[in-house]
Amino acid sequence: MSSIILRRLALSVPLLVVVSAITSLLESFVPGDPARTLLGINATPEQYEALRAALHLDKPFVEQYWLYLTGILHGDFGNSLFSGESVLAVIGQRLPVTLTLVIGATLLSTLVGVLLGVYSATRGRFSRRLIDVVSLLGSALPNFWLALMLMSLFAVRFQLFPATGYTPFAQSPGQWAAGLVLPVVSLSIGGVALISKVTRDAMLSTLARDHIRTLRASGVRPASIIWKHALRGCGMPVATAVGLSAIAFIPGSILVENVFTLPGLGTTVVDATNQHDLPVVQGAAITFTVLVIAVNLLVDVVYSLLNPKVRAA
């Protein structure tokens, strides 16, 4: 198993280099220069030069990038051009909200998707059609719009949940949870669509396999055949679908956070984009890339746990 993890980590190095290089390269396209934008027109030439030096703007691109890369390895992602705060501190502050959303949506969509998929595979033709429609709508309708529709219905019309804003857990766990219901539900819709369909298809093909027939012929209860043996056989495709969904939730959280104005990385990065605050965008890009790598790593680990042949090796 450790060899799988090592290989995945080795593959992630070029990925991180590419992402950081692209974002750094973009910096050289900045119209005017960030130092000027940041200081405004009243700055003295000394202030201007000092800032340029701090941002390494006086150096050629390759050196700039090298300095940035070595900085990252020392935990230095630079400072926000807008607020002057350390990018790492900003990320540290905002990431937990995003992670809560992504993890919450992954758990919810796995639960609902698997239940729907199994239901659809074991009931008649109507339920199969139903899943087709649910999964088509869930994957084709824009998730920010679905989020707004849910908000319009459950927050504005029926006032069951707060429409926007975030309550820290420490302040009030109840309000924290209530405020997360709609964002997590809207984020998970696309995942439910994918996971339910994959579960349904995997379930149908597993139920047709020989070992299921042996179990049936031995008089094993249908509930055990479906929920224990057949579902276990669907482990790999379902894990793949859950991984793909979790990866889709990462950028999806940007829109959902902005819909519900949650103080996560998504709202931060959109603000930074509007303010040309490249160091923050860059830091967020690397954070998102690391999250994607982490999800892939988890899926690899789950794979090897699910497969007795790999586990034994």
């Binding site: 084709a140 049936r216 959109v270 967020a284 890009a285």
Partner: protein, 586 residues
């Protein structure tokens, strides 16, 4: 090379129109109509829009639909319909930019990698792997941080980074096409690789390309409108679909309908793209399989009422009795009878052979006795009786009570017969708890599992119980499967080709085991096989089936020494081992 290309004659099929047959799929046709209509309307916005998109009429702000404002007005009294028409322009332009790059780059990379192979392929695949893992949306934001409000720059980024997905699909399709006859012919006739790729590979990929383009268009539209919603792609007050959803969200309390209209249009469009892609894929697959789009699905098999429902009396002899038994499967051409009026009786302590070639209906007969016919199969006539109880037509719930306890199965392929994800002990333990009548706790179950594994002559039962099926040999797994079938002490064991998948040396061991189990337990065994050597070796009586009918029946000696039917004679003649085992029969 002139225009008269020698290859035209070698090419296997004409370039099929990917849209052919679309009218037989109403949903796909409607989706195409929606996409075309909306696109044309957006292009013609200056002609169609009743009002300028920015014209404010504060006196009629947030009005509902009316003659002059068919979809009402927004917060500033601007005409919603006109803004939707104009607002589609950045959305569809952005989508078109992304799709254009996606096609050009994806096709180029895919065809180059798939046709040239070698190091070109390796480099492109490596680049694609990285591209596929890049978080695309965040890089689009980085681009927008520099090229402020540039819809085109952002959507170009999306197209470039997504093209790896298309390239991967085109590459594998291309590798398949490369091997086809007409491409070889083109090479022989001296065409250069570029020309072969452009003229002979590309046309074969159009169908798949169109499917991917539709699906990606839906994604691109959602991303573009998402950016618009965030206010990143179109500076206000210019209308854009995403931006209008954002504006509607500001007045969600006052006019919730606005949200439904603006977002609904985006949803309708991306849904249509998705439906169109799915529909085209189905058409493409149908064409490959050579089915017309309207092909009938298999129907249901009608059951002959008088035979299936009229209860006949229990036969007085035999633990298993089959009377006038017929089975049919539903096919697109109507029901097909695979077992036709078969009848036989099996006595306790007897090994009964069900002999025939594949397709003779012997396995189907065996599985139907357990109520385990594959979907689409039905007993259409006659009945089967197990220990005096009619099992044909029993509801599933009743059958579950019988399986494992009264009648059990040993199937053909031991290596796939057990659940690969659970240890032998765990699976066997579950069956023991269910059918073995073990009342005690874990220890009693473990003890019974050990007994069962010992009874099938496995030397180290505790070690076997700890193992997963893939850690055992085929012969050992088959013994485990037999142990599982024995757990409920059934009266009848259906053994479907129990030795076919095994080595010859192992086969004899399994047959010996079946024989000794019969002797010890007085169990009846129905042995389904195509191997007359096996029949000669272990069976007492047998029937020979051909195309669903019984052609020969009786004691094994009679079948071998005095075959009456030409089919049986042919079978015996084609089994070389019989000649040598004949002496043993007598």
């Amino acid at each position: 090379m002139t225009a008269t290309d020698p290859l035209v004659s070698v090419r296997p099929r004409k370039r099929a129109n990917p849209l052919a047959g679309i009218w037989r799929r109403p949903l796909t046709a409607v989706a195409l109509a929606v996409v075309l209509t909306v696109t044309v309307a957006v292009i013609l916005a200056p002609l169609l829009a009743p009002h300028p998109p920015l014209a404010q009429d504060l006196l009629h702000a947030r009005s509902g639909p009316s003659g002059s404002h068919p979809l009402g007005t927004d917060d500033l009294g601007r005409d919603v319909l006109s803004r939707l028409l104009y607002g589609g322009r950045p959305a569809l332009l952005g989508t078109a930019v992304a799709v254009g790059v996606y096609i050009v780059l994806g096709m180029t990379l895919g065809i180059l990698a798939g046709y040239l192979r070698g190091w070109t392929d390796r480099v492109i695949v490596a680049v694609m792997d990285v591209m596929l893992s890049v978080p695309i949306v965040i890089l689009m934001l980085a681009v927008l941080a520099i090229f402020s409000q540039s819809n085109v720059a952002a959507m170009l980024t999306l197209g470039v980074l997504s093209s790896a997905g298309l390239a991967r699909i085109i590459r594998s399709a291309c590798i398949g096409l490369r091997e086809e006859l007409f491409v070889d012919a083109a090479k022989v006739s001296g065409l250069g690789p570029v020309r072969i790729m452009a003229r002979h590979i590309f046309p074969g990929l159009v169908g798949q390309l169109l499917v991917q383009v539709c699906l990606f268009s839906g994604i691109a539209l959602m991303v573009q409108t998402g950016l618009g919603f965030l206010g990143l792609a179109t500076p206000p007050p210019a209308p854009s679909w995403g931006g209008m959803v954002g504006e509607a969200s500001q007045v969600i309390q006052q006019s919730p309908g606005l949200l439904v209209v603006t977002g609904g249009l985006i949803g309708l469009m991306s849904l249509s793209f998705g439906l169109l892609g799915d529909g085209l894929r189905d058409l493409d697959q149908d064409r490959r399989r050579g089915i017309s789009a309207g092909a009938r699905k298999p129907g249901r098999v009608p059951i002959a009422k008088e035979t299936a429902e009229t209860p006949d009396t229990a036969p007085d002899t035999g633990v298993l009795a089959v009377r006038d038994y017929s089975i049919a499967f539903a096919t697109a051409q109507g029901p097909r009878t695979v077992v036709d009026s078969v009848g036989f009786t099996v006595h306790p302590g007897e090994i009964f052979g069900l002999v025939g070639e594949s397709g003779s209906g012997k396995t189907v007969t065996g599985l139907s006795l357990l109520g385990l016919l594959a979907p689409g199969g039905t007993v259409t006539g006659g009945s089967a009786w197990l220990a005096g109880t009619r099992i044909t037509g029993l509801p599933e719930r009743e059958l579950q009570r019988i399986r494992g306890k009264e009648i059990a199965l040993v199937s053909q392929e031991p290596m796939v017969a057990l659940d690969p994800y659970f240890t032998i002990g765990s699976q066997l333990g579950e069956v023991v708890r269910r059918t073995g009548g073990v009342t005690g706790g874990k220890d009693a179950v473990r003890q019974r599992v050990r007994e069962l594994l010992t009874s099938v002559h496995l030397r180290d039962p505790d070690d076997v119980a700890r193992r997963y099926p893939h850690e055992l040999s085929g012969g050992m797994v088959q013994r485990v499967v037999i142990a599982m079938a024995l757990a409920g002490s059934p009266k009848v064991l259906i053994a479907d080709e129990p030795t076919t998948a095994l080595d010859v040396t192992v086969q004899a061991g399994i047959l010996d085991l079946l024989r000794s189990l019969r002797d010890e337990r007085g169990m009846a065994i129905v042995l389904i096989t195509h191997d007359l050597g096996v029949v000669a070796d272990v069976c007492d009586r047998a029937i020979v089936m051909e195309k669903g009918r019984i052609v020969e029946e009786g004691p094994v000696e009679d079948i071998f020494y005095r075959p009456r039917h030409p089919y049986t004679k042919k079978l015996i003649a084609s089994t070389p081992s019989i000649a040598t085992t004949e002496g043993r029969i007598a």
